[in-house]
């Protein structure tokens, strides 16, 4: 019988953390940033169907970096948690803080007790009625959680991105500027390692604080092209969906607000209004 070799807890945790960090650094970065009328999620992701960014609940979004099957597992668990909680209590009882707490416990337990820690970093963001109420939580492989003000960058080489965001991000930027900033940071600095990213290689979604109930929208098509184009006058997403069949994707032509009429120049109608509350009881669900 061989004697098990003694490894100090310190060394054990350090090895696990190094292992997880290495796994996460292999992926591409994700940026979550608050802007004037919502919270934007920008990920470098050439896939149209395997998402790094997702809706968790009415005003809560999810972003994951690292190993896909592991953050996908956490994403599904989060949706189950949110839907069960919203169903058994009320829709307004589902909060990003509750989700972050559940995730931190789960990740912490997996880190210390499973044979292999999760190689993931995730962000849970909840859009508030006003920007000061926005909440962005960043959770790492070992279950540590931090509430970030304004923005989060995870995965890949995120340190230079965070440094640049600290210098260039401002709370009242319109969506288009935040997206262009995020896109340029994901492309990397000029020189070695720089990549030109087009709209097709980005996965972009927003939580739009002006919308009632479900605020999560994916951005794509001509709208995303226009938002990323510095020459274009499109600054924000329309508050109403285009009249078209399909999911909650905002693919509207620039310059229209879904009814075919022109978008106001600043693109920020109804700013600061408290969104209408939708109860989870069908009997009290109408917004009159």
């Amino acid at each position: 019988m061989t004697m098990p070799m003694y490894v100090s807890p310190e060394q054990l945790m350090k090895d696990r953390a190094d292992f997880a960090r290495k796994g996460i650094a292999r992926g591409r970065s994700v940026i979550v940033a608050s802007y004037a009328t919502g919270i934007a999620f920008v990920a470098e992701n050439p896939s149209r169907t395997l998402h790094k960014v997702s809706e968790l609940y009415d005003r809560i979004g999810f972003a994951g970096a690292g190993k896909y099957n592991e953050f996908e597992n956490l994403r599904v668990a989060g949706i189950r948690y949110a839907d069960l909680r919203g169903y058994s209590y009320d829709r307004r009882d589902v909060t990003a803080r509750g989700l972050a707490n559940a995730y931190t416990q789960t990740l912490g337990t997996i880190f210390t007790q499973e044979s292999k820690p999760y190689e993931v970093e995730i962000a849970v963001a909840q859009v508030g009625a006003v920007q000061d109420d926005d909440q962005i939580y960043r959770l790492t492989y070992d279950g540590s959680v931090t509430e970030e003000r304004g923005f989060v960058a995870m995965g890949g080489t995120s340190e230079p991105i965070v440094t640049a965001l600290r210098e260039q991000w401002a709370p009242d930027l319109p969506l288009a500027q935040v997206l262009r900033l995020a896109c340029s940071l994901l492309e990397g600095p000029e020189g070695e390692g720089h990549r030109d990213l087009s709209a097709g290689e980005l996965e972009v979604a927003v939580l739009d604080r002006r919308r009632p109930r479900r605020t999560f929208r994916r951005l794509g098509g001509p709208l995303l092209d226009a938002l990323l184009d510095a020459e274009s006058s499109t600054h924000d997403v329309p508050t109403q969906d285009e009249s078209r069949s399909g999911l909650h994707d905002t693919l509207t032509q620039p310059g229209t607000n879904g009814n075919g009429s022109a978008e106001p120049a600043d693109g920020i109608p109804g700013r600061g209004q408290t969104p209408g509350h939708d109860s989870s009881n069908p009997q009290t669900q109408r917004e009159d």
Partner: protein
Amino acid sequence: MSTEHARGLPPEFLAPRSSSFTEFLSLRAPELLPGGGLRGGGEGTVEAPHGTTIVALTFAGGVLLAGDRRATMGSFIANRDMEKVFAADDYSAVGIAGTAGTAIEMVKVFQVELEHYEKIEGTLLSLEGKANRLAAMIRGNLANAMRGLSVVPLFAGFDLGQGIGRIYSYDVSGGCYEEQRHHSVGSGSLFARGALKKLWHEDMAEEVALAVAIEALYDAADDDSATGGPDLGRSIWPTCAVVTGTGVRLVEDSQLEELARAVVSARRGNPGGAR
């Protein structure tokens, strides 16, 4: 997962499983399923408020669903302004007849079921898929139906693949039937069906279809004591959901009032109404 988490997500949250919320709920918290906590009582029937008449009809751009507002308990009016027509998701609506409490719970879990699938899969269920999920829920309620707590919904939605509105009806055992053009369920449905049969025609505009639905509900209320007619004194109008390619919309009270008042005044001195 080898160990129980202290306060984190329990193992069943992280387990790979289907995208169904109902299935998850039945494992995690079966007492929260519609009628899941109903024990005791044993034999015999339970007295509870009943919802009555729901009508559905197709029109040129989609399908609409309308219901009266009365809930009854025997010969007693339990509620005058109950909502019985709900948006199920962005492209479908459901109307309920039968035991109100169980039915509303069922609508609630059905709404979460569809949204849950949409979030997990990143795509909408097909209309047929949604109709079948609802059938499974009604089948699960069969034991309660035997005790008198039956739920009979009417489901209508826009088929994004085919670009048409479709209607599905159910029986208490969970049988799901696609209906053509128009249908009605509930105690006043016999009379509403007659009206729909006479007034429905091909390629109606949305406004015309709305007026037909209100005529049909008026006829149901005229001959069925459990169905509530337009209540002019209290300003209570039927609930109406319109589903088209742009999504589902609950019709504004102001528009319903106008239509209901028009039907009532057209029937003054002419109780037979439109023909």
